[in-house]
């Protein structure tokens, strides 16, 4: 399968402030790839460097096997991009905004735009400045999806959309993916990544923490441990510790044998060890261990 995105040691500083540092990742053709990180982690910097909006200080960004620095137009012709905070020309109607976007691709997108507007319940006759944040997002969404792209780069696509529209959006995403498009989905809504992405990368403080199958990230060394009848366990590092009333629940990333040994002699009434949801795995990648270890 062809590599659609290849970032190699991508580094970008804003003056002295770190944007991203030595970030490398690959996305294969046909994947729905999740890109997870909190605000300020470097997600948008990565995307903007990838699409040629930012000049990286070092490293390379290649899409469809071509460098964004030298083949920008060829690449952008094959990409649909949904920015996290779309900006619009104030005097435009929704229809004009979509036609303006379509004019750059040399395609007649009117029929596709109309279908998408109906699907997302968007009134094409309204002025963009009259629209709510959610509806503006829809304009941007239709503009990104109205032409036939091979790669969709989506930066926080569901922010501002109501749950029904979010559902509709992901159905659209899966349709496009079934048609062969590759999806790069940046989000901090972990449930979305877990539900729709096959692989994901986690970014923290501008650097990649992990890049793996979503299932593998969830089932990596971290476990959610819930114990009834015990409130303290000596010598065991516990993260995200929660008191449950009759016991404790925490994230544990050490050897299970050590945990069992530590529990011997304690009044354990019940013990469950489960693979954590992505939210917990995410915390594992993000929290400073000193703060969380008890």
């Amino acid at each position: 399968m062809a590599e659609i995105i290849r970032l190699c040691n991508l580094t970008k500083y804003y003056g002295k402030h770190r944007g991203i540092e030595n970030l490398s990742l690959q996305v294969q053709e046909g994947e729905i790839f999740g890109f997870i990180g909190p605000n300020g982690a470097g997600k948008s910097t990565t995307i903007r460097s990838m699409l040629g909006l930012l000049q990286p200080d070092s490293g390379t960004a290649e899409l469809f096997g071509k460098s964004i620095q030298t083949a920008k137009l060829d690449i952008l012709r094959r990409v649909g991009y949904l920015p996290s905070e779309p900006g619009f020309y104030g005097n435009m109607r929704v229809r004009d905004a979509m036609q303006f976007a379509a004019s750059f691709y040399g395609e007649d997108c009117r029929s596709a735009a109309e279908t998408l507007c109906e699907r997302f319940k968007l009134d094409a006759g309204k002025h963009v400045q009259e629209l709510s944040l959610g509806n503006r997002k829809k304009v941007s969404l239709v503009s990104a999806f109205q032409h036939r792209a091979e790669l969709y780069v989506l930066d926080e696509p569901t922010s501002g959309l109501d749950p029904l529209m979010q559902k509709e959006f992901f159905e659209l995403l899966q349709e496009k993916n079934r048609e062969g498009a590759t999806i790069f989905l940046s989000s901090h809504v972990l449930g979305e990544i877990q539900k729709y992405c096959s692989r994901a990368a986690v970014i923290r403080d501008g650097s990649l923490v992990v890049c793996d199958d979503v299932a593998h990230i969830c089932s990596s060394t971290i476990k959610r441990v819930t114990i009834r009848g015990v409130e303290e366990i000596a010598g065991i590092p516990m993260r995200n510790l929660q008191k449950t009333g009759d016991g404790i629940s925490f994230l544990y990333s050490g050897p299970v044998q050590e945990l069992i040994t530590a529990l011997q002699g304690l009044p354990v009434e019940d013990l469950t060890i489960t693979e954590p949801p992505l939210e917990d795995a995410f915390l594992h990648f993000y929290t400073d261990s000193e703060d969380e270890i008890c």
């Binding site: 804003y14 903007r48 952008l76 012709r77 900006g87 619009f88 005097n91 976007a101």
Partner: protein, 259 residues
């Protein structure tokens, strides 16, 4: 892209044209009355000294329509045109970042150089439209007052104004590429400085060097109408300044980070 820029800018152009055009018509309507009371006004003007020089009144005969037009109507068009060109030029690139539209625009398959070219073309078309409308206002007023200017001087004066505005817009286009927002104030500041440099150059010989800085020197009504020709050297210098501004704008915009 050009159509889009013109759609965005035509209302502003119309407003500036109306404002300047109406002021010019208003001035022209006063001319017949001024002619009747020429002697006391001339005496008063002679007493103004440097101020009269500043506005070219020492070189133009304001008892005659072309001279009057060069001073009064030219004053309105000179200031209005400079400010409009500067605001237009300074905002043309930076407005995309100020309105957060740059991120969307520059992820469409369009090169930054193409964006610059179309935006510059739009600026030129808007300035041309502005000047055409202003000229139409003037031409509509001449038959009303029953007098007509020296047509060659009139045409050269308006040509000089258009070149001056294009020069300022070109310089401000370069400035615009370095800005992210707040372009209007900077545009007005540039226009203000260039205008007052021009005025200073008219007042005192010691400030003659400003002729090589401000386009007002070659586009001032007093310079063009009194000679019935353009100072080719200064015009060429102005075009060179505009070319430098435009080149700087292309260079910066092509390597600029869009945040």
């Amino acid at each position: 892209m050009l159509k889009h820029e013109l759609k965005q800018g035509w209302k502003g152009m119309l407003l500036w044209s109306l404002a300047v055009g109406i002021m010019i018509v208003f001035c022209l309507m006063l001319f017949p009355e001024l002619q009747k009371q020429l002697a006391p006004i001339q005496t008063m003007m002679q007493g103004l000294g440097g101020i009269a020089s500043a506005f070219g009144m020492d070189r133009l005969n304001y008892g005659e329509l072309t001279g009057f037009y060069g001073i009064y109507a030219g004053f309105m068009l000179g200031i209005g045109g400079m400010f409009y060109a500067a605001i237009l030029g300074c905002g043309i690139l930076s407005k995309e970042e100020a309105q957060h539209t740059a991120e969307t625009l520059l992820t469409y398959p369009v090169s930054r150089s193409s964006v610059c070219i179309w935006k510059l073309t739009a600026v030129a078309v808007l300035l041309f439209g502005f000047n055409v409308l202003v000229v139409l206002f003037s031409m509509a007023a001449f038959p009303i007052i029953g007098q007509f200017p020296h047509w060659k001087a009139f045409a050269l004066y308006h040509l000089a104004q258009l070149i001056m505005q294009l020069e300022i817009a070109g310089i401000c286009f370069g400035v615009s590429a370095f800005l992210r927002k707040g372009s209007g104030t900077i545009g007005m500041a540039i226009a203000f400085v260039l205008y007052f440099l021009g005025i200073a150059g008219n007042i005192t010989e010691r400030a003659a060097f400003v002729r090589y800085i401000t386009p007002y020197a070659y586009a001032d009504g007093a310079s063009v109408i009194s000679r019935v020709s353009l100072d080719g050297g200064l015009v060429a210098l102005g075009i060179a300044y505009a070319a430098v501004g435009i080149a700087a704008g292309f260079w910066k915009y092509n390597k600029k980070d869009i945040l």
